[in-house]
Amino acid sequence: MTQILIKNGHRIDPVNKLNSVGPIYISGGKIVSVTSEPAGFTPDTMIDAQNKIVCPGFIDLSTRLREPGQSRKATFKSETEAAASAGITTLCLQPDTSPVIDTPAVAELIKELAKKADYPQIYPIAALTRQLEGTELSSMLTLKQAGCIAVGNANHPVRNLLILRRAMEYAVSHDLLFMFRPNDYWLGNNGCAHEGAFATRYGLPSIPEAAETIALAQCLELVELTGCRVHFGQLSCRRSVIKIYQAKKYGLQVSADVAIHQLHLTENNMIPFDSNYHVLPPLRTEEDKQYMRQGLASGTINSICSDHQPHDIDAKLGAFPETEPGMSSLETLLPLMLKLVAEGVITMEQGIASLTANPARVLRIDSGALTVGFNADVCVFDPELEWQVNAENWKSRGVNTPFWGQTFKGRVTHTLQAGKLIHSLESGNH
C-alpha cells in the first residue's frame, strides 16, 4: 500500500476546522491521519509543503472536456492534465457532448475515457431531456445508475414549464440533483453580450439580465411545487443573487455557483470584438460583479466553478457574434480565487470552501475535506509563486482566455487524486 506524507504544510480545511501547520498521512489512497503518525507508517513519498497551503482538492461543478465528439478542441488527456495542474481533483461534465449524455452507453464511455486519462474522478451530468431537446424526459434513473451525478440541460432550453415541472418531479423521485443554468431562450434572443452600454455602442445582439432572472424565478416556483433539489449554475447578475438569497431565507433547498471570471470581469473590461470575452452568460456590469462578490462572501452563492470551455482557434476566429462562447479556465481558477482573497472580498477559508467543501455538499459526495477515511484528494499550492499565463505553462488545449500573458500569484505544486500524485510542479513539468 502506497504511503505518502505531506509535511510542514499550512493545512486549511474548512470542514474539519483545520487551519494550522502540520502533517497529512495518506495510505492506500485514503487520508489516515492529520495529527499523529499512524503506527507503522513508512512513507514511500514525502512532500515538503513548507510555506505552502495544503487543502482538499478542488471540485469543479461545470466543465467541458470536449470529448466525446469534439476532440479537435480538446481531449480528456489534455484537459485532465490541465485540471490536475490546477489542483482540481473532481470534475462535473456538462451533458452537451456529442453524442449527448442521455444514454448509459455515453456515461460509461465517459468513465472509460476518464480511466484512460488516469483521472477517474469525472462525474457526468445526465441530460434532463432526451437529446437535450427539451421535450421528452431522459432515462434519469438508468443514467444515475450508470454514474451520472445529477441532471441538467446545459445551455439548451426546456420547451415549456409543464415539461420542466415533470422533469423536476421525476428527478425528485430518484433523488437526483438538478443543475440548472437559468436562461430564458426567447429573451436571450441569440445575444452575445450583456444588454448594456457596451453592446449598445458596438451594435452587438444583447442579453438582458431578465433572461436569467425570469428563468430563475420560474424555476424557484417549480422548486416549491415539486420539491426538487436544484443547484443554479453560472449566475451572473445582481437580481439573481437577491432571488437566491430570498429563496434560501424562505427555506427552499437551493444552492448556486458563479463562474470565476464573472467575479473579475465586466463589460467594461471587454476589448471590443475580442472573442475571448465572448462568454455565456455574458460579462455584465460592475454592479452585478459586486453583487456576485457579496453573494459569495455572504454564502448566498456557495461555490465557484471554472465553467471551463476550451476551444480550437477557429472557433474564436471571426466577427464577435459569430464566434463560439466560452473560456478555457481551469488553470486560472486558483489564482483568480486567490485574487479575491488578496482584494479582501473573501477569506482564504471561504475561498477554499467555495472550491471544495461547498461543491461536495451540493453533489453529496464524500470529498472536499481532509477527513480521515476520505479519498486523499489534496491540493498543495504556493500562494506566493508567480507565473505567467503562456504557452510554456498552459496545459489546456484551449488557449481561449482573456488572461493570456498575464502574471498571476499562486500556483499549485502538487495534486493528489485518491492518494495518487497526478501533478507535481517540481517533477519537471516545469
Binding site: G196, A199, R201, G203, L204, P272, D314, L317, A319, P321
Partner: protein, 320 residues
C-alpha cells in the same frame, strides 16, 4: 477602444472602421479633403491619379446598391483598379470562410478592402487579420458602424449649416438596428454638436442609449422642436414581423415625417435620410422631395467623402 488599429504610428489613418477613437481634427481633415474633391466631380475629366496602380476590392457580403456604387466611382475617380465582389452569405457562414476569402484576395496583391458585412465587428476582424500593408474601409458592419455614411452626412451638414457648434440634431427611427445612427451619433458628438436627440419607440432603442451621448424622446412632436437637422432612418419591413412594431401605418402616424410635423423644426431645418427611402412609412414624398430635403445631395457627397477616406488611408503608401 483599441481603435488605434485605425491609426498608424504617426496618428494617420490606416483603416477606417468606426468613428470611435478618431479625433476631431482627423474628422475635420476628412471633410476638408472631401471638399477639395467636390469641385473636381463637376469637371469634364473626373479623375485624379492619386491611387493609380492601386487595387481596391469591394467585398460586399450584404446587398447594397448605393454604397457599393459610390465606393466604386470614388475609387475609379482616384484612378485605382477596382474589383467589386458580391459574396452571397448566410448567418451561419463562419469566420473561417470569411478569413479564407480575405487570404485568397490578399494573395492577389490587393491594397485595400472595402467591406460590408451583416455581422457587427466583421470589418475589425478583417483589419486585424489582413496583411499589414492592406487598408480596410468599413462600408457597414451589422448593427455596429457605417462610418463613411456618417462622414458624408457630416459633410452635407457642414456644407449647409457651416458650423457644428450651434446645432440641434434629431435622429428618428430604428436606432436599435442602425449602424448609421451609431456612427452619426459618434461623429456629431466628436465634431461638437451640442445636442443630439434620438426619437423612437422604446422597442427600437438600444439599452442605455443615452450612454452614447444623446437625449431620448418617444414623441416626434416634442423631439422635433427647434431642431436644425432632421435625420430619418430607414424602417425595415421585418420589424413588423418580429413584434417590434404593430404596423407601418401606426409607425407612420407616430414617427413618420410629414410636411406638417416638419414645421415644428426650425424653418431652415434640413431633412436627411441615408436611403433607401420607404415613402409613406418613415417619410412622406412631399418631404423627401421637398425643398428642405438634402437626400440627393447626400448621395453626391458620398463620392467625395469616400474618395477622401480612401486617399487618406493610402497615405502610408506615399499617396497625398
Amino acid at each position: 477602444m483599441k481603435d488605434n488599429l485605425q491609426l498608424n504610428s504617426e496618428g494617420k489613418l490606416k483603416h477606417f472602421l468606426s468613428i470611435e477613437g478618431l479625433p476631431k481634427e482627423l474628422l475635420t481633415e476628412i471633410l476638408d479633403v472631401a471638399e477639395s474633391f467636390v469641385g473636381m466631380t463637376d469637371q469634364q475629366i473626373k479623375k485624379v491619379p492619386l491611387l493609380r496602380g492601386k487595387t481596391i476590392v469591394n467585398l460586399f457580403f450584404e446587398n447594397s446598391t448605393r454604397t457599393r456604387t459610390t465606393f466604386e466611382l470614388a475609387a475609379k475617380r482616384l484612378s485605382a483598379d477596382v474589383l467589386s465582389m458580391s459574396i452571397a452569405t448566410s448567418s451561419t457562414s463562419k469566420g473561417e470562410s470569411l478569413l479564407d476569402t480575405i487570404r485568397n484576395l490578399e494573395a492577389m496583391f490587393v491594397d485595400m478592402f472595402v467591406v460590408r458585412h451583416a455581422i457587427s465587428g466583421a470589418a475589425h476582424f478583417i483589419a486585424q487579420q489582413t496583411a499589414p500593408h492592406i487598408s480596410v474601409i468599413n462600408a457597414g458592419d451589422g448593427q455596429h458602424a457605417h462610418p463613411t455614411q456618417a462622414m458624408l452626412d457630416m459633410f452635407t451638414i457642414r456644407q449647409i449649416k457651416k458650423e457644428f457648434s450651434n446645432l440641434r440634431v434629431a435622429i428618428i427611427g430604428d436606432i436599435l438596428h442602425s449602424r448609421v445612427a451609431r456612427s452619426q451619433i459618434q461623429a456629431l458628438n466628436t465634431l461638437g454638436v451640442p445636442e443630439v436627440r434620438v426619437i423612437a419607440p422604446k422597442t427600437l432603442l438600444p439599452a442605455h442609449v443615452e450612454s452614447l451621448g444623446v437625449s431620448v424622446s418617444h414623441d416626434l412632436n416634442a423631439g422635433l422642436k427647434d431642431v436644425d437637422v432632421v435625420i430619418m432612418l430607414r424602417l425595415q419591413k421585418e420589424r413588423m414581423t418580429s413584434a417590434l412594431l404593430p404596423s407601418e401605418s401606426e409607425y407612420f402616424k407616430c414617427f413618420g415625417l410629414t410636411e406638417e410635423k416638419l414645421k415644428i423644426a426650425k424653418p431652415d431645418a434640413i431633412v436627411m435620410h441615408p436611403g433607401p427611402i420607404n415613402r409613406g412609412v418613415e417619410i412622406e414624398s412631399k418631404v423627401a422631395d421637398g425643398p428642405q430635403s438634402v437626400i440627393l445631395k447626400q448621395v453626391s457627397n458620398g463620392i467625395a467623402i469616400r474618395m477622401a477616406i480612401m486617399a487618406m488611408a493610402m497615405q502610408k503608401q506615399g499617396v497625398m
